[in-house]
């Protein structure tokens, strides 16, 4: 019984580390569980401030736009200003994510595969065309 046509056979090596910034406990735990099951190393935070407080290097981030305190977009702006920007996929439960931007924004409820695709796409863009799973 294979639910995703052998997707689970894909070995992601070396292990990528993702940061999840999401204030909703249910969503944060579920995202962590899903990404972990797909072979990523996951560090999860419930606010932008919590992530900034602990210096946690990561390959990419999944950031909720509507966070208490600093919003997801403000967090991204700050990281860009400080030259610490990493590939990011934004998620939101709202209908309209706001003004058109070049950012990748996925609307909840998330499609699990679409989230993986967006993460891999962002990583590949950073790596300058390297495909997912290829040694970096």
């Amino acid at each position: 019984m294979t639910a995703f046509g052998g997707l689970n056979q894909t070995v992601i090596a070396p292990r990528r580390t993702l940061v999840v910034v999401e204030d909703d406990d249910h969503v944060r735990r579920a995202l962590t569980r899903w990404l972990d099951s797909r072979g990523y190393g996951v560090r999860a935070f419930d606010s932008a401030e919590a992530w900034l407080a602990g210096l946690c290097p990561a390959d990419a981030a999944i950031i909720d736009i509507n966070l208490p305190g600093m919003s997801g977009l403000e967090l991204d702006d700050r990281l860009r200003r400080e030259g610490r920007a990493i590939p990011t996929v934004f998620i939101t439960a709202h209908d309209e994510p706001g003004p058109a931007t070049s950012r990748v924004i996925l609307q909840k409820p998330l499609d699990a595969q679409a989230l993986l695709d967006a993460i891999e796409h962002a990583l590949a863009a950073r790596d300058g065309g390297h495909v997912a799973g290829a040694p970096s």
């Binding site: 019984m1 969503v27 579920a30 899903w34 909840k108 409820p109 998330l110 499609d111």
Partner: protein
């Protein structure tokens, strides 16, 4: 010839008499001239005043129209006299106009009427007609006198205002609905995301050997939690509406029906719809909120009017009946001659946002159902045997 004293006195008296007569005659003539001038001045006021003036005799027929009236209608005095003026009244307004005139006339009371009158150029203009009974110096009734004003512009402004209000109401209802829907979907998207991610992760773990039962149990436990959370969101939103209290009192349901007919009069007239009522006179008072029941009836009337949009004007009829359902409840039924339910999903028609109208919100029947259920009654719809539909609702007696 010598004149005696007596003769002298007699002659003087005659001269004085002649002089007095002459003076009196002059005064009488002056008075007559003054009266004629006054009459002429009054006649000038009547003919020059920028109002349309008419006068009728005791036979109700008109015996005078001022020039301003004749200029407006573009007809001759001979054409307008008697009942001739009525030829210029819009056919749709004529019956009501004549009935009101005759009723006021017979009761000898002043009246105010609004009807459409054909202008010289063929355009029907709305006029306000104000009439009052007139009497002579001995209080003898002589008929009526009245004047008309062209109030078309005012009525158009009122109508535009009414339409603007209706549109604002529609849009604000839609906006409120839209905001509510956005808030609800935002709240539901969180647990839905958790459900999907947990389910996907657990499915993934199923492929592992050996199975990590603890991890899968955690995932499924979180999935169930998220499901409960979604249910809680829905419950909380339901509570928002459930705590609506109905201010009930003993109500005469027939009075509510009569009130709604009055409230809808303008709309009904505008759409050329005739309403007849058949109200049972042995009904007990119902337990209800007058304003909310009015709202339900207004919604049902509005639907009935819309349903008959494409029906011949002569066939646009609505019948509202009240009757006893049983010992405990009264039924109100609104029957129209409209399009019926051929294109209507009967299962969904009372649900929120279901509509068959291009500009509808789908709120009317949904609100009506909420109101009637809050009253402890029931609302239902049926297709008429001949044409159109009947919406009925029951309300418990007090």
């Amino acid at each position: 010839m010598r004149i005696g004293i007596a003769e002298g006195i007699g002659m003087a008296l005659v001269l004085a008499g002649v002089a007095a007569g002459w003076i009196l005659e002059r005064r009488r003539r002056r008075r007559a001239e003054a009266a004629a001038r006054e009459h002429e001045a009054q006649r000038a006021i009547v003919s020059e005043a920028p109002v349309m003036i008419w006068r009728s005799g005791i036979d109700k027929g008109c015996d005078f129209f001022n020039p301003w009236w004749l200029t407006f209608t573009g007809r001759t005095l001979a054409q307008e006299l008697g009942d001739g003026w009525a030829e210029g009244v819009h056919p749709d307004d004529l019956d009501a106009c004549l009935a009101s005139y005759v009723a006021a006339f017979d009761a000898r009371v002043p009246f105010r009427l609004e009807y459409r009158l054909r202008r010289f150029d063929g355009e029907y203009r709305w006029v306000l007609d104000i009439g009052t009974p007139r009497y002579d110096s001995t209080e003898q009734f002589l008929g009526y006198i009245g004047c008309c004003f062209d109030i078309t512009d005012r009525r158009q402004a009122e109508q535009a205002l009414g339409e603007a209000h209706a549109e604002i109401n529609r849009v604000s209802r839609l906006t409120a609905l839209g905001e509510f829907a956005a808030a609800l979907s935002h709240e539901l998207r969180q647990p839905l995301t958790a459900i999907i991610m947990n389910a996907r992760a657990t499915l993934c773990q199923l492929e592992n050997t050996p199975l990590d039962h603890e991890a899968m149990k955690d995932g499924l436990g979180d999935l169930v939690d998220a499901g409960h959370r979604a249910e809680a969101v829905i419950q909380r939103n339901r509570e928002l509406f459930r705590h609506r209290t109905v201010q009930t009192s003993a109500l005469d349901i027939n009075a509510v029906v009569r009130e709604v007919v009055v409230l809808s009069a303008a709309r009904l007239r505008e759409h050329h719809v005739t309403v007849t009522t058949a109200l049972a006179d042995d009904l007990r008072a119902v337990r209800g909120d007058r304003v909310e029941l009015l709202q339900v009836l207004l919604n049902l009337l509005a639907n009935a009017i819309d349903a008959m949009e494409r029906v011949e004007e002569a066939d646009r009829r609505i019948t509202i009946t009240t009757s006893r359902l049983d010992q405990d409840a009264v039924v109100v039924a609104v029957k129209d001659g409209g399009v019926g339910f051929d294109a209507v999903d009967m299962q969904r028609m009372f649900t929120l946002s279901y509509t068959t109208k291009a500009a509808g919100t789908g709120v009317g029947l949904s609100i009506s159902r909420s109101i009637i259920q809050a009253h402890g009654g029931r609302i239902w719809a049926s297709q008429n045997a001949d044409r159109g539909a009947t919406f009925s609702f029951s309300v418990p007696v007090y």
